[in-house]
Amino acid sequence: MEFFLAILSAVPTTLLVTFVSFALGAVIALPLVAGRRTRFAIVRLLSKGVIDILRGVPPVLFVFILFFGVGSDLIRWEPIPAAIVGLGLISAGHLAEIYRGGLMAVHAGQFEASAALGLTRTATFSRVVGPQAFRVVIPGMATWLISLLKESSIVSTIGVAEIMFVTNQSARSTGEGLLPFIIAAAVYIALGTPFAAFSRWLEKKLSFGRRA
């Protein structure tokens, strides 16, 4: 029982790291995807490079680089901000590719109709293409959010007291092997399930007019 309570007490930290880094990634992904679609070849190449690096480096290594590497030489920071920035940047790389897929799924005729009507680029993206792309990217974003929830366990390695960290501690201090890890696994599953359900609900809600 005390394992369970200890692990539960770490849930807010896991959720904090997951949600804040997801939100950070969702915002940083926007300029990255814009960069991949601009007419300037150098910016396109640069954006693709950044995305490939963010997606190509193992998350645990990336967080180590930020916390132990950059953290000890350049700036001093606490484990939680380092974890959020690290996972946020990795999320940006993944979400940028998810956004790009969403934009590619929008029919070219939508861009043409917007242009022919004289809509500005901003209006075209925010009101015409964006909402249609968003519907397409919801499942991909939800999948990433659930991956991130699990992936956030790696920040235990830099001392963030989230679920994995507390579980490890409990297991070590009591010598009890299996139980705390099983409990932690159950907690991750219990946390992830509502995300998936929310994604399905949102997808359905935004399936404009197809039910009528």
Binding site: G109, A115, A116, T120, Q132, L206, A212
Partner: protein, 259 residues
């Protein structure tokens, strides 16, 4: 058969294309095409696929940027030898409405919003003003009962009429139609052609790329035949259809009339 009405000979030229050239790789889509359209005129363009008729139409509102040539729309001049500024582009597109083969309605907006939203953004109308204009136009094209529907729940003919209303709501000087009935069941296409006929009767300047030879014969003031990126023939629709002077036009016309 309705009487063909010629716009008065004194009518001003509202659209003037000069030596419009467009090349894709080594394929010449348009080889120095020149064309004038007068205010109130209905011009039909026919020709086999790949003849450049859609490309020409898309050059008028800059969905395709020509490699060279000049374009004059209601007084505003664009020379494609220099880069076209964004302000010129918006100015040009405000004068020109376009209807696409595939409708291109916004699927996440109701029929009413499809017609109102561009007015709010482009003309700065309030939502109430825009909705008022939209309702009048949707009634005119026979869709008063479909305003709250989403486009996907409408037939092709209905969607295309919404697209016409959406373009008209911005009060264009010229309407471009790019094969407006090609993606619609023939029967439902008639609804669209009848709306276009009303529009022509109301004096709208129209350039229509089409395979509907009867529409061209009855509604258009002038017919242009294109092939291989060039205008090969032009004249009064019925005369041209009855007795084309080039072998190429003759071949094409017999292919679409003898079916």
């Amino acid at each position: 058969m309705t009487e063909q009405q010629q716009p008065p000979a004194s009518a001003e030229t509202i659209l003037r294309l000069r030596d419009i050239r467009k090349v894709y790789g080594d394929h010449v889509a348009l080889g120095d095409v020149s064309l004038d359209v007068k205010r109130g005129e209905v011009l039909a363009i026919i020709g086999p696929s790949g003849s450049g008729k859609s490309t020409l139409l898309r050059c008028v509102n800059q969905l395709e940027v020509p490699d060279s040539g000049t374009l004059e729309v209601v007084g505003s001049n664009i020379d494609f030898a220099t880069r076209v500024s964004a302000a010129d582009l918006l100015g040009l597109r405000r004068q020109v409405g376009m209807v696409f083969q595939s409708f291109n309605l916004f699927p996440h907006m109701s029929v009413l919003r499809n017609v109102s939203f561009p007015q709010e953004r482009v003309l700065g109308r309030s939502r109430d003003e825009a909705d008022k204009v939209s309702k009048e136009l949707l009634e005119r094209v026979g869709l008063a009962d479909k305003m709250q529907n989403f486009p996907q729940t409408c037939s092709g003919g209905q969607q295309q009429r919404v697209a016409i209303a959406r373009a008209l709501a911005l009060e264009p000087q010229i309407m471009l139609f790019d094969e407006p009935t090609s993606a619609i069941d023939p029967e439902l296409g008639l609804e669209v052609l009848s709306v276009m006929r009303q529009l022509a009767d109301a004096g709208m300047t129209m350039v229509v790329v089409t395979h509907e030879i009867h529409f061209a014969a009855e509604v258009a003031d002038r017919l242009v035949v294109m092939a291989d990126g060039l205008i090969i023939e032009e004249g009064l629709p019925r005369e041209l259809i009855a007795s084309p002077s080039t072998a190429r036009a003759k071949q094409f016309l017999s292919a679409i009339t003898d079916r």
